[in-house]
Subunit: 492 residues, 4 copies
């Protein structure tokens, strides 16, 4: 079943507890801080039902149509179908929704491609996971996740932290026949204001004795006892849609999750008390790979947006023909082709997974993550250099256009021979909003940390690299010559 955007918006009116500072948000679909972004999400749902996208954003299984990201791929074509779906969705949100429904949706789909990892004796984890997968797929639910302990909690030495009072990290407070009670804080539910369900888990490795925190479960966003603490919504600093077309409409939200004695039924508990397993479910299934494949593609969309802006700005400033600017644009174009190549490459060099499934090449996927992380800030800086100081020459906000006398002056003085003052202002406001507003700063920080800090992302590459094969190469080369070969000789 594919929900309509309106269905989705209605489901958000569920009594969830979101705090913006001390203010309780009554209804995210009407709250000025969230309403516009909620509608941007709703549009993604409508797009899936759009007949134009019938063959690209959904697939049929057992007579039902499902969202593209629930497809469990069995061949290259399936991987391409998924890639294409991610790209269309990311384009529709300009790559600004890092945790759109296809992110965690892909994690969970990836897990079900090798569900035996969950198959711990005496537990029904595997079956629960598969049931949950069907539940969110069949009801077209938007799942986001919170999978890290709060900063302070990480510093606690593992030996002494056994009670809640010493660590605020979410943990299992008690269990009974119906389920478990969790208590504490988890970071950071990106998309938390707009999702249906929140997956709680541990992507950050836990110390061996922190078994009480080693719980993986899922809860609805309106679960009693759960409160979401939002960072400052970017719409609050937006002057208007014209002045801040992105921060006013594409803020996916980031929320701290505070659970005060929240009850979770056993059917929604996927691991418990097993530190290793609580992380293995991502790395030993397709979870981490399908999920971050979506991230690569989403970045690709955003990069296309940025490069388009660079080109428009160069044209607006009348410098597009200058060799140094051509060089900059050529370099940006090469970067766009690089992420495109890395996305295609991880499909071409895919691997096998579980029983008959395929998975994107994880080494290339991690390499792409690192590449994006290393380059996003610099790309933004490059385009900002193209902008120069022009943004500071623009009037403070759109109101200038509504005052006839001032607008006349504005059009007379700010227009160039190629472009009206209005068009220039619209372009520079858009670019500034993407690259230099607080919203833009959040994106720089996000690209640098959403998949973990850079050293952790590189650690994935370290883990997955075939070091023995690399060493062998050296050893074979070194075996072709010795100390006695005093004169130059050919390689054997």
């Amino acid at each position: 079943m594919l929900r309509s955007g309106n269905d989705y918006l209605r489901s958000l009116q569920d009594g969830r507890q979101i705090f913006v500072g001390s203010r309780l948000v009554e209804d995210v679909t009407t709250d000025p801080a969230f309403a516009a972004s909620a509608r941007s999400f709703a549009r993604l749902f409508d797009l899936k039902r759009d007949p134009e996208h019938a063959s690209t954003l959904s697939f049929e299984e057992n007579g039902e149509r499902h969202s593209f990201y629930y497809l469990r791929p069995r061949n290259t074509e399936d991987l391409r179908f998924r890639m294409n779906g991610h790209k269309i969705w990311a384009d529709a949100s300009h790559g600004l929704f890092g945790r759109s429904p296809d992110h965690v949706g892909s994690f969970i789909t990836g897990m079900t491609c090798r569900p035996e990892v969950f198959d711990v004796p005496g537990h029904g984890f595997k079956d629960r996971l598969l049931a949950y997968y069907e539940y969110i797929r069949d009801n077209d639910l938007y799942v986001c996740y919170a999978t890290h302990p709060p900063q302070g909690a990480r510093n606690y030495s593992s030996d002494s932290k056994t009670s809640f009072f010493e660590s605020p990290a979410l943990h299992v407070a008690s269990t009974d026949a119906d389920g478990i009670t969790v208590h504490g804080m988890k970071t950071l539910a990106t998309g938390g204001a707009f999702c249906d369900e929140i997956w709680i888990g541990n992507l950050t490795p836990l110390a061996p004795d922190r078994t009480r925190e080693a719980v993986t479960c899922a809860i609805p966003a309106n679960t009693p006892g759960l409160t979401l603490w939002s960072r400052r919504p970017s719409a609050q600093a937006a002057a208007s849609a014209f002045d801040n077309p992105l921060s006013s409409r594409f803020d996916e939200s980031d929320c701290m999750l505070v659970c005060e004695n929240v009850k979770v039924p056993w059917s929604r508990v996927f691991t418990i008390g097993n530190v290793e397993l609580s992380r293995a479910i991502y790395m030993e299934t397709g979870g981490h790979y399908f999920g971050n494949h979506q991230s690569n593609i989403r970045f690709w969309s955003k990069l296309q947006l940025i490069i388009g802006l660079a080109n428009k700005i160069a044209a607006s400033a009348g410098v597009r023909g200058i060799p140094a600017v051509q060089d900059t644009l050529g370099r940006l174009a090469a970067m766009e082709a690089t992420i495109a190549g890395l996305v295609h490459g991880q499909i071409a060099a895919h691997g096998r997974l579980g029983d008959g499934h395929v998975v994107v090449n994880q080494r290339i996927m991690y390499a792409a993550l690192s590449w994006c992380q290393e380059n996003y800030g610099q790309i933004c800086a490059t385009v900002r250099e193209l902008m120069g100081g022009v943004i500071f020459q623009m009037p403070a906000d759109v109101s200038i256009l509504h005052d006839d006398a001032l607008n006349d002056t504005f059009q007379a003085y700010w227009s160039t021979d190629k472009e009206t003052a209005l068009d220039r202002m619209k372009l520079y406001k858009l670019a500034w909003d993407l690259l230099a507003s607080e919203f833009g700063a959040r994106h720089v920080q996000y690209e640098n940390f959403y998949a973990g800090p850079p050293f952790l992302v590189r650690a994935h590459s370290m883990r997955e690299a075939p070091w023995t094969a690399f060493d062998d190469k050296i050893e074979r080369l070194m075996a072709t010559y010795g100390t006695g070969d005093a004169l130059p000789m050919a390689a054997e």
Copy 2:
């Protein structure tokens, strides 16, 4: 005469015309967008009169006390006195006021150290300049400047652009016995909302035939016909002083200058109709060197602020002892010492100027400008990497602290073993405001462009370098060996 902060604030209530969008600012000292920053400027004035700074922020001449930046230096001690004054003032505004009164004040003082450059036959430019210097010095006025044409105007080919309708760039519309009438737009009066006087000129080289734009003059900020078009004030996006302690209080303002038939008396016209001279007055006097020396020192202060934040953040996150973090802090400390060394070095290696004056070493000064320009963005990025995603884990704003129940939860969950939730929030909000708010983004853009785009700053270094001496070095080396020296031999 040294004015008090209150005197200064009163003088700002002079009927100047500043537009924020379509809104006319009635009084910058009470307008919510400007009031707090105006008080921050006022504090600089009070500091000069503070007995504690009697020997550092002012000097006596002819029985009057004058601001430190009006001292015309005759020896190393004088240069050190000026450096010290700039540093104390920059520290008081945390390096956030790029165009504090000592910037253009130093330009004009530097010009008077070699005033004969103004000495064009048949004009009284030199005397007017010296009189103007005494006027602003003796009345303790704050001068800012607007010295570039608007972007669109630059693209106009010089052959066809002779009337106002074809180019919005400020130019001389007519002259008469009393003075001149200027008309058009100039960019970008940083500090324009808070200054007493605006210096209009041409740091951007003009095409040879654009003589009508080649005017240098000064006008009071409330001159009839002059309107100032402000970019969006950063205070507008600030939630509170706690949430945005810098953007709410240290926004120096950037304004476009629109002159509609503005009359300027001859006594305030310093060059007219001479394209070369209109630029030479900066480069062939001490103007550009003293003015940008202030910029170097102001950057130094800001860097100290940033490095202090880096250290605090590392301590707050409990990672200060980690080797990689030590290495980062060590690198930042080395960078602070680098700009300190470059400031000291340009004094130690000073040159002579005009009749008995000395000037900071311009090559080192330009090198420092380039160094700052190349490194500021990266320094900010480094400290933002130290911050990680913690800022997004903080509540939206200070209001959380005023709700007892929520505040209790906040203190319980967000505190760490070393620091209270409140202290963490205060620190991260400050760092975010400096490094990632729209105010922070403006600073990145500012550091990259206030002295011209990077390639222009490097062009100053190209212009000033002793290429012949460098070539000689090579030629002397190459003269020590020839083609006949088939065997290795010693250098002669």
Copy 3:
């Protein structure tokens, strides 16, 4: 027909004129400067005939077996076959032979996939090209190329340079019924000492009136009148195979081509007198794309060698477990996966070419070229940082191992608890030879310039990018909001 290594070596004894300084090389297969590298090339030929590689390094057509790089690809499988062949060959020469036979071989094969570009009325260029393709394929010849004017020639203004005396660039001196006579210099025949044939052409765009230089032809390496001027062979500086295992055995040679009235039969002339066509034959066929696809893959092999060395050095120094070193290795591993991904990606996202052929994605291929160019020097620097100063602690050369007393001391003092002195010396000498010998320096320069200087490589990306599509993206976004939308609203 696939030649054996011995057949190949014999064919090099053909009287070609190679000068090393003033010394005429009599026989490259025995000359100490070239013999070892000749044998390394010969090994590539033998590898093609090795039964183990029957299905990977050759294919059958019309009952004959041909080298893999002559396959004209019609589908993904064919592209993968080619990629695999390039990789095996590059591995066999450790990525050190930039212009191995599969480079220009791929250029020419790519041309034949869209030969109609050559089809100029009144000429038989197309048929000659196809015939030449069959000739080199069927005789298993090694073709290299020289396709740029010498540096001095580039500066000549096009209006005055019509005679040889004014420009040394190779040009058509005369034509007759049998063919043409070419005269002048061409740069730079990499592989020139070891090839069978030299392709002469123009990858550097020519000024419109330089029609006499607009000639494309092919000549055997021993053509009368042709002399090859070699740069200093790296084997000359090599102390021994042990001390310089790569520079002594894997120097592909770089030669200036001097033609003094060299006659070329019409059958080997592929364009003449047409400036545009002389370049279009590379860009509008598959030439530039197949040829540089090989370059990407060759780089991949070299990167694997370097990363293996990095890992070995970290282990040898006992620092592989240090977090900072793990981070460095992880980053290098991600880089290796990046080039792997870009190679795979350009096959996955391939395009159509000519009549039923396919071609690697040129945008990704150019992006990979840029990526390699931007990163090679830094990768080498990274691994050199891992080496520290240890190389300078090693004895001068292998002779130390042949003196019993000194060797005893060496083994006693230079061994570590994990590794013998001999093994350490062998490893560091290898790494130094690759990364810091003159041979290594040539490779840094080569990677930076073999495909043109960086700005030219970026210009290819500029040329091929879909700017209109990028602009459209921005325009569609900007169409979703206007000046009247004063309040935040959702995206449509």
Copy 4:
């Protein structure tokens, strides 16, 4: 007493034992691997006696003239005198002698400016140091040093390594009434082939229990039992002075020091058995600061050489007028001014030391070290980019110029309209020798490691930074606002 170059050369014929591989060097002043560089050193001695440099390279004390680097500075003038001397000497060797006599000479002079650090009760270390200072000063001796354990030795855990067989690091084997016996290996005596004396010590911190290695002493280069193991001398790979004008004449040598039961009299033992003291003598005196100040200045000279080459190459290639090249040259010029500024700055901001002496500002000196380390490789890469592939277009070696026929062809084809083939070859050979020969590669490695690996150099900056002052700055700022200041307010 100032020795002549000939005196110096004669003193090198002292029977010292240097091995190049297994070859024992009989006489460094005639050995082809060392003779030319020995003469380059000798020239430095002659320069000191040159009347032209009487007031810059030497000073008078007690009726004797001494080398400039032995001056114990008491004021800014003295520091400037030293700076000037270092610069003249560095210019004479083009910055290529990192360990010229003024390096360790400055270390020891710096120690004597605060000799009380050596004043351990019961030892005469302080007096011996002062006596040694007078000895080397009065006899104009060239001292170099070896102050690190060999790589393998560093990995040994401190608990088990008490016998020679377990660690090759130099240590005290025994003591008696006359002195001590040292045994083992030390790295890396740069200049070892050309010095008079070798200072043995510990700049690398030792583990607390490695007291036997905590010895500081000095021995003549020809001490019985001492052997020097040279890395490969760069002159061995040089083709001629024309082809390799620097590697053939400016190789300062790097030698491993192997001591087999070497006896050192007590008068030359400066610390023994005290791990902390063995390092404090550098950091708590002026040793490390004066010594590395010389390094900064020496780098400055080298940078001037490189920038001159860049300018010459740009001119030779006819591209000096291209904006991108102007930009590159401007950036290089700014870098030269940066190191100049940092050198001047550390004198201007000097500190006090011991009893009436002054010392360069150590924070700026360390910042300069880091700056050089971070930038040298990139500077070289930049100039190599300017060179492009032209070097590979040049004949292999100078012999081409001695063959009339070939030389005619060379001059005809390789000349440009502005420059002869010979001049071009000479320039490119020089640049290549500096930037890309094995000699050049050694310099890259040297600049990166001579003062320790980059993280250690940054650790000096970490150690010396005023963190409390930086923190105070933040705390004072944070004290100006609180949680109650809900509205923007001015800074106090």
